[in-house]
Symmetry: C2
Subunit: 315 residues, 2 copies
């Protein structure tokens, strides 16, 4: 099968073995996949991953459990062992023994086929297109902001960083009715935010210590520093991006202002599918380009361009 593989070097091959099934796995034929910033980090060495990349996808079940055959599905990326204390507490995404699709000891979705436990699958309703379904995983991650940090309609909320994930978070937070502003530097996300009726601002336009919740999607020390300036005492900073290296962080200010810093990772697929089914999230405007899986290297290069939004792989 065709596959985009990272083994210290990124290559696209056409003779990768189709996976065989074990346990309750379903064999998925990938219909479409999306490139995430994490994929770009993985090929720089993050997580020390080796194997097929890709964790944003929509697929069709072509083999495995009978009740899933023929279904159009998306799949959660954390493959839990179902036996640890965190699984028992209903947090399989933080399972102590988990592997992660396309990221940590589990093959990814940038390939014709992927074998994945049926426990991770969600049926995609007809009203959600293949394009939109490819956004379920990152949209679920965006929803994890409000899953861990409930936001009320009267909250003052700032999102710093308007890349792919930041724009999804902005759309999700708009739905809370909160007083929302998004810090942008580039014209492209600014025009998307304008189109969605979400205030796009620069850092200089914002008063210090006035936001109850600041979502840092920058993954940079500067972003965290800005978040610390913008958040009010007793406010909350939600961290949504992994950081390059070990950023310097003003923990003294966290103490003195009694700030709450909440790390947030993968989120609820069901809710993401509901919002997409209801047409409440605009994914189409966020698609920059489509490449065939055979042109995967070119797609990754496109995705790495400064300011690039979603690049899709077709099969």
């Amino acid at each position: 099968m065709r596959a985009m593989v990272f083994d210290g070097k990124l290559t696209c091959v056409d003779d990768y073995a189709v996976p065989s099934l074990s346990g309750d796995q379903a064999l998925l034929r990938i219909r479409r996949a999306g490139i995430c910033n994490t994929d770009l980090e993985l090929v720089k060495g993050y997580m020390n991953y080796r194997g097929i990349l890709g964790h944003e996808f929509v697929a069709e079940v072509v083999d495995g459990p009978a009740e899933w055959l023929g279904k159009r599905v998306v799949g959660e990326i954390n493959v839990a062992d179902g036996t640890c204390d965190l699984c028992a507490r209903g947090i399989p995404s933080q399972c102590r023994g988990r592997t992660t699709v396309g990221m940590d000891r589990h093959p990814g979705a940038f390939a014709d086929y992927l074998a994945l436990t049926a426990r991770n699958l969600h049926v995609v309703p007809d009203e959600v297109s293949d394009d939109a379904a490819t956004f379920v995983e990152p949209l679920a991650a965006a929803l994890q902001v409000t899953e861990l940090t409930p936001i009320t309609p009267s909250s003052r909320v700032i999102v710093i960083g308007a890349g792919k994930l930041g724009l999804l978070i902005a759309q999700v937070l708009k739905l809370t009715g909160a007083d929302l502003a998004v810090v942008v530097r580039r014209d492209r996300p600014r025009s998307l935010l304008d189109q969605w009726g979400i205030p796009a601002v620069t850092l200089e336009e914002l008063p210090a210590e006035h936001a109850q919740i600041v979502v840092d999607v920058t993954g940079s020390a500067e972003g965290f520093e800005s978040a610390l300036q913008l958040v009010e005492p007793r406010g909350t900073i939600v961290l949504k991006s992994t950081y390059v290296g070990l950023p310097q962080a003003d923990l003294t200010r966290v103490v003195v202002k009694e700030v709450n810093v909440v790390g947030s990772r993968c989120g609820p697929f069901d809710a993401a599918l509901r919002l997409l089914g209801q047409g409440l999230i605009d994914t189409q405007s966020m698609i920059d380009a489509r490449y065939s899986i055979e042109d995967g290297l070119e797609a990754m290069e496109h995705s790495a361009r400064p300011g690039a939004l979603k690049v899709l792989l077709t099969f």
Copy 2:
């Protein structure tokens, strides 16, 4: 009056002007005061403070509002303006316009007299000695851990750092019934913890990712790194010390483990007085030495010795 003053250089003087009263201030004659690590940081330049040091004290009201005259009191250190949104929300300790006793644009308590708004005063019950009352401010700060992060009896909790504040936090957390361990390096705090029936451990004895709550009282990058190792996914790290400079912090791990980092500062004086009145906190064993205010420089030197516990100033 006698006073210990920092004006870029630390001096003890005997001719400082007795403060005059304004507004609803009471004139306090200081009976006893305690030296805090923050005082040691202030003379190194923290907060850029100039003036009389000291914010842990017990005093007698000798002038001011009639209903306070003759009362033995302790005083909260955040002098709120009573007009900002945070005051209105019942968080005067985070008042946007606040000054702070002995720390930020307000004279401190290492002096014969201190003028302080009567709104900040709490009467000390007879069963609380002057020595114990001197611990009300740091004990309230210790209680702010459970004020912001409720701890249940079945929680697994670790305190890292067994200095003056860490030992008070350990005593407070013991009262929750939680499964508590305190990371210690020195013999002195180890023997105190033994005396109190609190498990004293080394980092190496603790399993990774197993604590629901880790309280970092080290104020060091290494302490925060240890906390990140010890806390379980979705667990909470409470920061209780200010940090020297800008520590490097593994924010990626905060994201991936979905950790909650809570800054915590000043706490409830009433609760501290109740616990001391009930004899539930051992402050006497934590007193290392007493010096007259005239020997304040010597007292500060003593307090700066590695492993020193509480040094009191007498008047």
